[in-house]
Amino acid sequence: MGKARTSDQLSVTFAALADPTRRAILARVAEGEATVMELAEPFKLKLPTVSKHLKVLRRAGLVTQGRQAQWRPCRLEAAPLKDVADWVERYRENWEERMGQLNDYLQELKSEEEKHGRKK
């Protein structure tokens, strides 16, 4: 899944995530399903504003909405987030490997400096 998604799809996900209100909405639906009303309340948003944000999140595949006409509960879809997490994680691991090498080497430098006394 992570590999199949293209960089373009990642960009759509990132664009959807690039808004604090949408991230707050996601954080809320990550705790459990919520109606549009329930999403609007804590942020003191008007319903059309919430609907606009939900549209962006739905297009990015981050949120799905139920069919019940009146409630239409919103639910988090984790797959695109997992792609972002995989993407970030691979990069982070690469840095961790490099920084691990630097840190190991620094221990050698440190013990040499202790042996010879610090030169300034």
């Binding site: 691979r90 990069y91 080497y105």
Partner: protein, 162 residues
Amino acid sequence: MVVKSKPVVTLSMPSDRELVITVVLDAPRHLVFEATTNPEHVKHWWGPRRTSVTICEIDLRPGGAWRYVIRDNETGREDGFSGVYREITPPERMVYTEGWEGLPGHDYLVTATLEEKDGKTTLTSHLQYKSIEDRDGHVNSGMEGGMRETYDRLGELLAAIA
């Protein structure tokens, strides 16, 4: 015998074209600066573990160039990386461009700051890309391996981007 360490690296994305990488290294700042700016030291640690540094040139002054070539110990493949220093403030700050020679024109600007506390140094690398595509491309290139289940990291990720 030095025990192989794995310092914790944290990563954040303040905007579409930026990445900020932070790591705490177990050494005082002057040593971290020395290890990252002196070619005699850089060649001992730069690049992934499976590679060796074959060329390491550093002209440490504003406008001065740097160039590293790493060779994959198994495949023999060589990759060059290079850039130009913009600012050098020993031992606390460096600003330089960096790019993979296999993809010219997609270099990015690195601002590295070093802060020391209790004998440890926090190295913060701020990477500024020319475009979101460059940033995504950088992360996707040569970073294979290490794929693992990350569902349990979702909470962490949401916290990081929130």
